[in-house]
């Protein structure tokens, strides 16, 4: 295997979107930061530190031969599992925004569930390689890895952090899908899921209303509809070109914590439809490159790994964007590269480092 050059299109897109994220975090957060911490740069300074750290990680990881993850997959997974259990213990894990999912180190916070996402993808990729022949067998091939996934999901739900848990589960399902698990399985699971939802609705019809409430947020503008209405108030007036950098009005205490889940709304408000096109294009470049790298590798492990990481990223981005534009109910998922969140950015950049490393080993 010869060393190829880095995928510069992918690297360039990653750096551009991250810097854009940094700028938008500043624009979105300075009002709240000044109000809460008397320091308008509070959030952007934190995120900037992580960004530099993340760039270093990206560079470092892209140099590390990915085969090491195959060898150390079980160890990595076990460490992350222990951390995930430790974070649940009061006194060790700290509660932020109602979830006990953080290790507080000074003003920084580390979320073990973010690391677990990557660890489980590595673990599953290895699992798929070793059980290549069993993957069309439900009991022998699919159920064991699903059981492990559900265990991790259960631990994350104890925090609770539904969004991260959901991304984790979907990443694994995506991996199983390309890993050769028959269509029938997904089809049947889908039917079981639909049947379950229908059953729940039939047993208590108010649930349907609750599920569908996101379609008309104005029904409960101060309750369940609040965030989405505030988000639409940001997106709507943005128009084609937006109000201009820094000119968002919704960030003035209307939209709670605009630098996190709803940063896309602020981008939309300040840069309009063109800003949205830019952001989605960057995401699509990264995703398409990621999938291309997965398609072009020789060995199965790196194929699964590159796909798993890229698919997890895509799913998280889609989940966030669909919430922000009001296509699905609020789930509390951040937007990769763009939302404020140190460990998330660190892990995202590190994962991209792995993908970049894989790209060097292409045929």
């Amino acid at each position: 295997m010869k060393n190829k050059k880095l995928d510069f299109l992918l690297l360039g897109s990653i750096i551009i979107i991250s810097i854009f994220g940094l700028i938008m975090i500043y624009s979105a957060s300075y009002v709240w930061a000044a109000y809460k911490f008397a320091d308008p740069f509070k959030f952007v300074k934190n995120q900037g530190t992580f960004f530099i750290l993340g760039l270093f990680m990206l560079w470092f990881v892209s140099k590390v031969d990915y085969h090491i993850y195959y060898e150390k997959a079980n160890l990595i997974f076990t460490i992350c599992l222990i951390l995930l259990i430790l974070v649940l213990i009061p006194g060790i894990g700290t509660v932020r925004n109602g979830s006990r999912s953080w290790f507080g180190i000074g003003s920084f916070g580390i979320q073990p569930s973010e690391f677990m996402k990557l660890a489980l993808i590595i673990f599953t990729s290895k699992y798929l390689c070793r059980n290549e022949k069993n993957m069309n067998l439900i009991v022998k091939g699919v159920l064991p890895i699903l059981a492990i996934t559900m265990l991790v999901f259960g631990l994350i739900m104890l925090q609770p952090d539904f969004g991260t848990g959901m991304i984790l589960v979907m990443s694994i399902i995506g991996l199983l899908f390309i890993g050769g698990v028959p269509f029938q399985f997904f089809f049947r699971s889908f039917l079981v899921g639909v049947a379950g939802i229908v059953g729940l609705i039939l047993s208590a019809p108010y649930r349907l209303e609750r599920i569908l409430s996101f379609l008309n947020p104005w029904k409960d503008p101060l309750g369940s509809g609040f965030q989405i209405i505030q988000s639409l108030y940001a997106i709507g007036p943005g128009g084609l070109f937006g109000m201009g950098f820094g000119a968002s009005r919704q960030k003035h205490f209307y939209l709670p914590e605009p630098q996190t889940d709803f940063i896309f709304s602020i981008i939309s408000e300040e840069f309009g439809f063109l800003g949205i096109l830019l952001v989605t294009s960057l995401f699509l470049i990264i995703i398409i490159r990621g999938f291309k790298i997965a398609s072009h590798t020789n060995d199965l492990f790196s194929k699964y790994l590159a796909f798993g990481i890229t698919f997890g990223l895509s799913f998280q981005a889609l989940l966030n964007l669909m919430v922000v534009v009001g296509l699905i109910p609020v789930t509390g998922v951040t937007l990769p590269f763009l939302s404020y969140g140190g460990s998330s950015l660190l892990i995202t950049l590190a994962s991209m480092g792995i993908v970049l490393n894989i790209s060097r080993h292409q045929k």
Binding site: V31, E132, G174, F177, I178, G179, G180, L232, Y233, I235, G236, P237, G238, G239, L240, R249, Q250, H252, F253, Y254, S268, G272, F273, I276, L277, T280, F283, L284, I287, I288, F291, A294, S295, L300, K303, F307, F311, S314, L318, L321, M322, V325, G326, L327
Partner: protein, 635 residues
């Protein structure tokens, strides 16, 4: 083969992801383009706070542009506590300027409310104070315009103009009737704020208030002043229960002056009873008209040619028998032998009974209705009465007889004036009106204009001329002599009606009235005066109401510049040497200036000093030359 399967499945996944991204972009497009207007409006409402700016209420003018109702503009202080950062500093500065204690001011500055009006210290600020505050340029401190309705002539025409309530909303009269026009639209100062109410650094948007539409009336201010003065004099002289005055242009139906007593002061409307305020007597009250109604019988008889005034004779023995009743003439012993012209001049009741009998009840009542009695005239004022007429099948010979000279029917003053106008203007009944036009405040463009409205022709041109001539001779030779103005042609008719209470005529309680018009050959004005229960005098329309109408008509000669008819007697009228003078305002003037301004009048000073602080009579009143004006002086 297996790897190929992996690759095709990756493509499926990628395809789905791209589809979802497209969906998101489309949804954003939908929000920004299709929902843009709605969301932008909602969001704009969310971001902006409005400081209301009051619009000026439309002004009310007389026909010549004299302001009858306007607004006093004042400036008031408004605070938006959320925007005031340095509350101590702002409180100190405002307290010093407004002369309020620090603690009292702080209560306003620190109040938890979106908009705080500093009441009462911060309202109706003088220009100097407002200027001082404006110069501070403090965030969250605003000066807004407020206006208060002002009636320069106070009780003048109070029922017709009406008044406004605390929020400048019209509550009676024209103020109520045209409230939608007079009320403007609020403007606002729109400023943008964050969710905590702090002001954002986005420039304010000033939306100009739309001032109310102006009203121009058909009223002639000078005639109105004259009428008001005469009613005041009548009240002090006779202390009547009520007094009514109405002047109309007979050729158009325009009301030139309208007033009544008791009246009220619109700025203190709370101090009066609802009846006093709401009853606009010239259009509301209904009563037996008495002899002024004979004009109708006269006009009908002339039109139907049932009488020849000059050649036919009638002997009045003092009473006439109708069925089993004996109807007396007002003059004890009767008028003896007369022509029918003299019957009219003398206002002889038995003579009019004959005229009524000749017409018959169908014809008489047909004319009464054609002249507009029994139905509202449709004048553009609230609270008009319609009067009561006998039902035709209940009219027997007695009812026919009494109706002919104005008893047993109930009519309003406006109906009488309108009907008489028709009888003398050439025979056409016009709908009376008081609003001449509605004008857009800035450009003065006419939004709506009322023009004369012909209701119907009642009598012929020729008959109308005969009526005019007959009524002129009533003033020249008959019961209307008290209204005679030497050198001018005046027509008229007296009226004296016994008032009815609980179905019975009251003793010694009359409504005396006079209907006069000039010039008699081509009338420009009809003036009607009715005095209800005058005290301390013999109650005849001729003796009480006649001279009042005469006084008004004397003013009208100057106001409307009515020329002496050629060939008329050159004899000067008795008080021709004495002219009426409109009293100027001398309040605030020095003693010297005042004496200059009041030249021709007798001044009585009181108090010491050099500045006039009070004057009686008030500015705008018309008094005779050499009459006394009292002024009070102060430092």
């Amino acid at each position: 083969m297996f790897v190929k399967e992996i690759h095709s499945r990756i493509k499926i996944v990628l395809f789905m992801i791209i589809c979802l991204f497209l969906l998101i972009v489309l949804k954003v497009f939908y929000i920004q383009v299709i929902d843009y207007k709605k969301l932008n409006k909602f969001a704009s409402n969310l971001w902006s706070r409005n400081l209301p700016v009051e619009a000026s209420r439309g002004l009310i003018y007389d026909r010549n542009g004299v302001v009858l109702a306007d607004n006093l503009t004042t400036t008031s202080l408004v605070l938006i506590p959320n925007q005031i950062k340095d509350k101590k500093m702002v409180t100190e500065k405002l307290a010093a300027i407004l002369n309020v204690s620090y603690d009292d001011m702080y209560k306003h500055v620190a109040k938890k409310t979106s908009i705080e009006r500093v009441h009462p210290e911060g309202r109706r600020l003088s220009y100097e104070v407002a200027d001082q505050i404006a110069e501070l340029k403090l965030d969250g401190v605003y000066l807004v315009k407020e206006s208060k309705r002002n009636y320069p002539y106070d009780t003048y025409m109070s029922h017709t103009l009406g008044f406004v309530g605390i929020d400048n909303q019209g509550l009676s009269g024209l103020e109520l009737m045209y409230n939608d026009y007079l009320t403007g639209t609020y403007g606002s100062i729109k400023y943008f704020s964050d969710a905590k109410g702090n002001k954002l650094d986005v420039s304010e948007v000033y939306e100009k208030p739309q001032d109310g539409v102006n009203l121009t009336l058909t009223i002639n201010h000078e005639i109105q002043l004259s009428l008001e003065r005469e009613l005041n004099n009548a009240v002090s002289k006779y202390n009547p229960d009520q007094a009514i005055g109405l002047a109309m242009d007979p050729k158009t139906g325009e009301i030139l002056a309208i007033s009544s007593r008791p009246n009220f002061s619109p700025s203190r409307y709370q101090e009066y009873s609802i009846e006093e305020i709401n009853r606009n007597l010239p259009i509301w009250s209904t009563y037996e008209p008495g002899s002024t109604f004979k004009i109708i019988t006269l006009a009908a008889s002339l039109e139907e040619k049932t009488v020849n005034l000059k050649d036919e004779h009638f002997y009045d023995g003092g009473s006439i028998h109708v069925e089993n009743a004996r109807i007396k003439c007002w003059k004890h012993g009767g008028h003896g032998e007369q022509t029918f012209l003299q019957v009219v001049e003398n206002s002889c009741n038995p003579g009019f009974v004959i005229l009524g009998q000749r017409l018959g009840k169908e014809k008489l009542f047909q004319y009464i209705r054609k002249f507009g009695f029994g139905t509202k005239t449709g004048i553009d004022l609230n609270g008009e009465g319609s009067g009561i007429l006998f039902n035709l099948d209940r009219v027997g010979p007695v009812e026919l007889a009494t109706t002919a000279f104005g008893q047993g029917v109930s009519v309003t003053p406006i109906q009488q004036v309108t009907a008489v106008s028709a009888a003398i203007n050439g025979g056409i009944l016009y709908k009376p009106y008081i609003v001449k036009s509605l004008n857009e405040p800035e450009t003065n463009t006419v939004i709506k204009e009322n023009k004369k409205t012909k209701v119907r022709r009642v009598i012929s041109e020729k008959t109308s001329q005969e009526v005019r001539e007959t009524l002129e001779s009533v003033v020249t030779n008959g019961t209307g002599r008290t209204a005679f103005i030497d050198g001018y042609r005046v027509g008229g008719k007296t009226g004296t009606a016994q008032k009815v209470k609980d179905g019975k005529y009251m003793v010694g309680n009359y409504t005396v009235s006079f209907m006069g018009f000039m010039p008699a050959n081509d009338p420009e004005i009809v003036v009607y005066i009715a005095i209800d229960n005058a005290k301390g005098v013999t109650q005849y329309g001729g003796t009480i109401a006649g001279p009042i109408v005469r006084n008004v008509l004397l003013d009208v000669i100057d106001i409307l510049d009515i020329k002496k008819p050629k060939g008329a007697s050159e004899k000067e009228y008795n008080i021709g040497d004495k002219k009426y003078i409109t009293v100027p305002s001398v309040i605030g003037k020095t003693r010297k200036e005042a004496s200059e301004l009041l030249k021709g009048l007798t001044i009585r000073y009181s108090g010491t000093g050099d500045v006039v602080t009070y004057q009686s009579p008030k500015a705008g009143q018309r008094i005779l030359e050499d009459d006394i004006v009292r002024i009070m002086l102060d430092e």
